[in-house]
Point group: C2
Chain length 192, copies 2
């Protein structure tokens, strides 16, 4: 998706430790116009899958998921939570996830009420690197007996291998920008 | 907003400890069609304020804020973060917030880059009770010299007083459903 790649080149910052900072438009300040283009692109790639639910994980995935839902007849969005709260049902599915940005492992959880065997799920997230969050979300689908119809990612760090590993296992992972290297601060996209 | 009140009566659950569970449509599973009606209503109430930015706090506010932005010419959404992450600039404004659902106090933070004195800010959140999160967000605006033009809340727990206190201080707090009591599991709305 060229608009996105151009935006990453213009406004992204490569920091030490393989970190790509895109907080001016994606995961702190959010450019909602860009999100609409992202949602439309996910729709072109996954609309035929008859998606019944979009699943993501708090926090940065929620905006992408909600805007994207509008291009799928406003199917419900479910966001997995990173902590147990007083307003969440205790009857949950959970899975462990390693966070790259938080440098720790935690459980993500979804109420059993909101993932069902009849669900055809599109998993959405802002980033994919080693793939821990996506694997956690796939685990939640499996536990519920729901079908993971696809995985839509905004930015994939291709060199970390998580996306290709999932594709080799048969998952339909579609990333709108795959970065193959960021050496010396130079961002190189796959397909370019 | 009648659609919202009817939905709260139909799908909300009053739990012990003054907890209203609305996780089937607002803050775990999200009804994006309803969110679009909510965004349109916020637009009717605040459009004349020439909003330049929507400010919320992770996680449940993000979906409401992103959908609402579409009714304000897609102004940028900024969501305050609850923890310091590797991909967040260290140059931040911060403010303490007491969480009702998490039963603890934490700092919320926003990069200085994304709140400016020229900003006319609409604060958006899913719930308002004692008003701690909104006060934290107002503090961030003040620290940045930005103008808080209004506060849009989906559900206000009126009997906890946070909304009325803010109104008495001059803030334009607009809640789409104000609940005045939930005694014995019976939800009573203000104006009804």
């Amino acid at each position: 998706m060229n608009t996105l790649k151009e935006r990453i080149l213009r406004d992204g910052h490569v920091l030490q430790g393989d970190i790509l900072r895109v907080d001016s438009f994606l995961n702190h300040q959010i450019d909602v116009g860009l999100l609409r283009e992202i949602g439309a692109e996910f729709s072109r790639r996954f609309f035929k899958r008859d998606i019944t639910k979009i699943l993501t994980v708090e926090a940065s995935g929620i905006g992408v998921a909600c805007i994207t839902s509008q291009f799928f007849h406003c199917v419900p969005v479910v966001f997995a939570k990173k902590s147990q709260t007083a307003n969440l049902s205790p009857d949950i599915y959970s899975a462990p996830v390693d966070s790259f940005t938080h440098k720790k492992t935690f459980d993500i959880r979804v109420s059993r009420e909101y993932l069902k065997p009849s669900d055809r799920v599109l998993i959405i997230d802002d980033f994919l690197a080693v793939g821990s969050a996506v694997r956690g979300l796939i685990s939640l689908c499996k536990a519920a007996g729901a079908q993971c119809e696809g995985v839509g990612i905004v930015i994939e760090k291709g060199w970390q291998g998580g996306g290709d590993k999932l594709r080799s296992e048969g998952y339909d992972v579609q990333s709108l920008a795959v970065i193959d290297s960021m050496n010396n601060g130079k961002i190189v996209f796959r397909d370019n």
